[in-house]
Structure formats: C-alpha cells, structure tokens
C-alpha cells in the first residue's frame, strides 16, 4: 500500500535526532511496551500482519507518535482484532473474568528464549528462479493495496541482481496468513538511478526484493 510508513527518500524531516536518542528508551512505558511485544502477547499475528497494522494507522498519528507509541496503538488494534481483548474491556480498564496468571520468567530464561527464536524465513523452492546474479532487472511501478515491501523510491527503476537467496516467505501473502514462498534477490541500484545525476556516482542502495516485484530490464 502507498502508506505513510514508506519514508525512504521523503524530504522535510530535518536532522537525525542523534543527541536526544542514544538510549533505547526515554520513558518507563516504552520499555514496558517493548517487553510486552517481545513476549508475543498476540500469538495469532504474523510479523507481516504486525507491520501491516502499523501501516494502517491513522496517517497523522503515524508521523507524530513516537516509535513505541505506535507500537502501543498497534498492539491494542491487533489484540482487539484477534479477539484477545474487547473494546469494552479496554474502555472499562479491566477484565470481568480474569484468567489464571501467567508464570513469570527470569532474564536467564529470556536469554535462552531469544536464542531459540532464530527464525528461518526460507522455504523450499517450487519453481525455477527467473533471475540470477548479474542480471539487470526493473522494478514494478504499481504495487498492491495491501502489505508489500517494494518502497516507493525504488519503483520503476533499473538495478542489478547481486545475490539470490532462494525462496523466502512472501510478505504480501504473509500479512494475510498465507504462507507461500517466492524467490528473493538482493538488487543494487545506483544512487543516480534513484535520485538523479547530482548523486555521487560511486554510491548505491541495495534492497531485498521478491521476484514478483521485478521484470527483466
């Protein structure tokens, strides 16, 4: 979708907030939010449905909310959508029929859990790859209305395939809980192709792009 989240190349955002942003968390509620999300309190979602949820936020909120403020809003949406909590419970502020409390985990258990959370997104190849490293490809100009991972700044551009990763889960489908694979490539674009002749001729931007985002150049 052509959403507000697609920020690459947009102008007017001012300097990078280096000085006020070195610590991961500015407020206690930010680390509470982060921990809730890490623990996976909405187990029926997929990573791409989570991302799509952020993209579907009210655009003004997306730009003005801080990062974890967006997460808080998105998690409320995701959990209501999944039927885990209701709007009535949210407005009331408590649950009428509480469940048995979850067991507390220790930091050591979390460290172990993180290690076991190494997810492989590759899937068996069920069709031959259309492209190979060294090929010149062109990206599509049009994208779908739903979740997709071809940024606006790199549409209808020519680039060179520099790596092929076999098939990875296709996010456009994963956002809707359909687990299908598609060939994934790293494509390198010259800065001049993306931004014009004023760009440094040595500079480039690379993107991982799924096969259906690409056509032969």
């Amino acid at each position: 979708m052509d959403g507000i989240h697609d920020l690459g190349g947009k102008e007017g955002h001012g300097p990078v907030p280096v000085t006020d942003g070195d610590a991961p968390f500015a407020h206690d509620w930010e680390q509470r939010m982060w921990g809730l999300a890490r623990e996976g309190i909405c187990p029926s979602m997929t990573i791409d449905w989570f991302r799509h949820g952020l993209e579907l936020m009210v655009p003004g909120d997306y730009l003005t909310f801080s990062y974890f403020q967006k997460w808080a809003t998105n998690y409320l949406m995701l959990m209501i959508d999944a039927g885990q909590i209701t709007l009535e419970e949210l407005e009331r502020g408590y649950v009428l029929d509480p469940a048995d409390p979850a067991k507390a985990k220790t930091a050591d258990q979390i460290v172990d859990q993180v290690r076991r959370a190494c997810v492989d997104f590759s899937v068996p190849e069920d069709a031959p790859a259309a492209f190979a490293p060294g090929d010149t490809v062109r990206t599509l100009r049009q994208i779908t209305h739903n979740h997709t991972r071809l940024p606006a700044y790199a549409r209808d551009c020519e680039g060179e395939v520099i790596a092929h990763h076999g098939c990875h889960l296709f996010p456009d489908e994963g956002a809707h809980n359909r687990h299908v694979g598609q060939h994934l490539y790293t494509v390198s674009f010259t800065a001049r192709e993306l931004w014009g002749q004023d760009a440094n001729p040595r500079d480039s931007v690379t993107l991982e792009l799924w096969e259906s985002y690409l056509v032969p150049a």
Partner: protein, 213 residues
C-alpha cells in the same frame, strides 16, 4: 485469531484514534493490565526482557564478533560467507538474525544500514535499536543523502569512498564490519571489542578511536 483483514484493522485504528486518550503511558498501562489479567504475560516477565537485553544481549555481542574477525582470518571468512552460522559459534543467534549478512568496510567502501519501511534491526547481535535509528528523519534520509546523514554523526567521508546503503526491508539483516584502526597491533580480542561502537556496526560511525581503550 487475527482476522488479517486490512479494512477491519484500519477501521479499528480509526476507532481507537477517536475514542482513546492518546497519552502513550495510559495506552501501555491499559494494554499491560489487560494482558496480565488475560494470563498472557506476568509483569515480571516484562522486567526480565529489559534485563536480558540490557545486561546480556546488546552491542557488546556484535563487538565481540567484529573483534574476532579482525584477529582470526578464517573466522572472518566464515562471517563474510555466512554470518547467520558464524554468530552461532558465540551463541548469539536469535531475534531477527535468522538471515544475517556481514558487510565489510574497506578503504574505498562504506556500508550503512537502514529500514525505510519500518525499523528492522538485528536484535540478538546488536541489542535494542537506538531511537535515532527508528526516527522518520533517519529512515527518510539514509537512502537519499547518506553522506549528509553521516556528517550529522560526525563522519566526514571523502568523495571517493563509495557509500553502499543496505535498506533491510525483507528478513535479511546486516552487520557492518568496521575497519580495524591503526595502532592496535598486538591487542587481544577483548581489548579490540572495547573500541567497536554500536554505530560503527550500523554504519553511522567509521573511524574507530583507540585512545580511551
């Protein structure tokens, strides 16, 4: 069960926007208390996550990997060939590093990492991402004017050094391997790891300082 219905999600977002106080502290408090009452998480587990990532999982992990690459050419070869496997030698695999790629800086190339569509980051090897990495300004500008962004981080990159920006919008994540600075001959891995900054492994720092180590 999630509906995976875009229109439903957008409608819910608009409802929350109109009916809920926007104060994020209140929203998170509501979310946590409902999740706790539903038996989905214990409050102590949130603390445990923060402790795990502050004490055990952080940029010191990436720094150890970089330091070993500097002193052990055969490890460096493995890291550049398949970083996903190479970091398992340290037990550093995990959140968002199932497909990790190491990008090595050289005299004529500088690597820099961003995610323009969200804020993807190799958590299990670099820990929690800094706030600037998630800012609209960094996400918008890193791909378009990386040299100007680098200048804001105090990196003065010569015109003849190429910048390669990795926009990590799929499930591949990137670890920049900075160059080993001069004057560190004979240093052991631990001492070398001490000079590797988090920003150098994202690509917003380039020439590492040896003075304080």
């Amino acid at each position: 069960m999630s509906t995976f219905d875009s229109k439903h999600a957008a409608d819910l977002h608009r409802h929350l926007h109109s009916h809920l106080p926007s104060d994020p502290a209140l929203r998170v408090k509501a979310l946590e208390s409902l999740a706790v009452e539903k038996g989905l998480i214990a409050p102590e587990t949130v603390d445990a996550w923060v402790e795990a990532y502050s004490e055990h999982i952080g940029p010191m992990r990436g720094a150890k990997v970089v330091a070993r690459a500097w002193v052990a050419p055969e490890f460096k070869a493995r890291l550049l060939a398949d970083a996903t496997e190479a970091i398992k030698e340290f037990g550093f695999e995990g959140n968002a590093t199932g497909h990790l790629h190491a990008a090595e800086n050289t005299d004529d190339t500088h690597n820099m990492v961003v995610c323009t569509l969200c804020s993807c980051y190799p958590f299990s090897i670099l820990g929690m991402s800094p706030a600037w990495y998630k800012s609209a300004a960094y996400r918008a500008r890193a791909v378009r004017e990386p040299r100007a962004v680098l200048a804001e981080f105090g990196v003065d990159l010569p015109e003849d050094v190429a910048v390669r920006v990795w926009d990590s919008t799929a499930e591949l994540r990137y670890l920049v391997v900075p160059q080993r600075p001069a004057g560190t001959d004979g240093w052991d891995e631990e001492r070398l790891a001490g000079i590797v900054t988090r920003n150098s492994m994202i690509g917003t720092d380039r020439v590492l300082k040896t003075g304080a180590a």
